[in-house]
Subunit: 369 residues, 2 copies
Amino acid sequence: MNVQIRERPDAASSTGIKTAIADCDIHPARATKDELFPYLEKRWHAHLETFGIQAYQGMMEGRPYPKAQPNASRRDAYPPEGGPQGSSLSFMQKQHLDPNNVALGVLNPLATGQGLRNQDLAGAVCSAINDWQIEKWTSKDSRLKGSVVVANEDGVSAAAEIRKRAGDTNFVQVLLLSRNVEPLGQRRYWPIYEAAQEVGLPIGVHAFGFGGNPITASGWPSHYIEEMVGHSQCQQTALASLVLEGVFERFPKLKMVMVEAGFGWAPSLAWRLDKVFARLHSEVPHLKRKPSEYIRDHIWWTTQPMEDPESRDHLFQTIEWIGWDKLLFATDYPHWDYDEPSRVLPAGVSDANRQAFYLDNAKQLYGIA
Amino acid sequence: MNVQIRERPDAASSTGIKTAIADCDIHPARATKDELFPYLEKRWHAHLETFGIQAYQGMMEGRPYPKAQPNASRRDAYPPEGGPQGSSLSFMQKQHLDPNNVALGVLNPLATGQGLRNQDLAGAVCSAINDWQIEKWTSKDSRLKGSVVVANEDGVSAAAEIRKRAGDTNFVQVLLLSRNVEPLGQRRYWPIYEAAQEVGLPIGVHAFGFGGNPITASGWPSHYIEEMVGHSQCQQTALASLVLEGVFERFPKLKMVMVEAGFGWAPSLAWRLDKVFARLHSEVPHLKRKPSEYIRDHIWWTTQPMEDPESRDHLFQTIEWIGWDKLLFATDYPHWDYDEPSRVLPAGVSDANRQAFYLDNAKQLYGIA
């Protein structure tokens, strides 16, 4: 056995899918380094020229993705006009949105101000990214909707950015990453949750990010695979923190989407939390319900990655636990681990559940008519 | 709802269990601070008097367990002659071994040299703990078997300690913790695996430990519950590291037991690893089989904690995935989260599986006639 990174079908060979779908994880990129500059105050042009950026640094650098997949993306996804994968709307339309019948595509920009240590710069870059999403993407293709990116370590400025976008139908969610300076339930992040609830936007929590700590409690692993699968453990701790700090008790209308970290771990995490909670409720008296109840009511989950058990029944049992109404289809386009829409669900799913999974859950969550 | 820490039944009200059982996680304690001194060279008496100990330090200190459960243990487990819970053989016999019909009790000493930064001291303390296990426990009650504790950060000295105990039937396994200076698959720990395979002892990997890093990739959580449930995430990263570094390829006869971190997360971790491995095998070409195959063949799992799903079927499906022949019963006596033997398995388990779970799997794994 000597499996290599699989080649991806090129645009021409895409099989397509007949029913309209929502793709809840699309990553748009800048075509050039300077593409963001028109959206940034002049002050920051000079600052970036003089100081560059200071990010939370660590051994992550240089190895977030296999090198053989440049820009973490499909090698067939380079736009013909140049620029990195995901940087051309017309090529995204031709390669992905049109052939795959994407009726709703949620943009999750990743290289934003999140993770920058200068919080004023972080906020300026995030705000610029939000303007850029409108001008380059959502105003040009009504199928695409943006995510409000925020300087997440500065809850107050992040909340201001969210309120600035209130009522703007170019955006359907706020975007956070799961690996931060502190676990996501901590109070420094509460202004974000307060603002998101107030303006009625769900919060997507996408895997990745970096806050200075290694991805394991025992330091640095050796392999990309460990880093990648480790993001599921990050997401587990983030979700436990959100539940146990009482975020969903404090913000009862908040909806969150766990993006790109799998969901097979959700039931066992909830079972364990419930069992411990039954005996240690007095440590978290602000919780009025069992941890599993907050998880079931407040959390949505995207596929890509979707766990792939040997037994189809195991997959269905897992989905039944989280709820067919809580699962959202996502491709992760143009990243290398993209899921082909027509191949992601095994046989044996009812038409109603397929329809909910591929489109209706997302339309309902994101308020798309 | 205002659940407090539940009181435990006292010795007199223990329900007992009719069939003989193996308890694969019993924690013996020292009755006094000085109890270990007879097993330590004089050199270390003076050293401890002058320098004390230097452990990997962090915010763990002072909060590994709820304070209301002193010594992390049942309040009804104090021996009548004084000393902390778990420090009296006669009281352990009276309260636990006799009424619960324990035919095999595996001792897992926790406050050992593991985690001390002076590796010579760590090795001396571990060796003393091993001598103490024989003299105080296993030579006095043939139902009890010890675990060889080792200075795990110094693989070479740890391997020497394991070889020193080769063939000594007082011991049935080597004991490691899951949270260390590096992930457990790293080569610094390989001499331990080599020696354990050579002398034919399985390795128990018990939750807890500390190597300087916070328990989440986003720093320190607020609650004991997060710390406790977080150990399952530590165990997941440790297991991924063991598999991906090729430990089971290099040491094909090695058997490992995951102790006190649950097992509900095992299938979804294996599914995810298999899926990523299928595409990124070239990063870990030393692996000849799918990650799930190493996990199924090389890993045993103890209960306490056993996840407690709402649906009994979900529990059974999880156990079927890991294998009824791989599950070992454990109480965690005398710790506060002790599981009462007669109550741990739900109805609906076949007699053969009950027998395997309560006794036969452990006897076979640990080589007890």
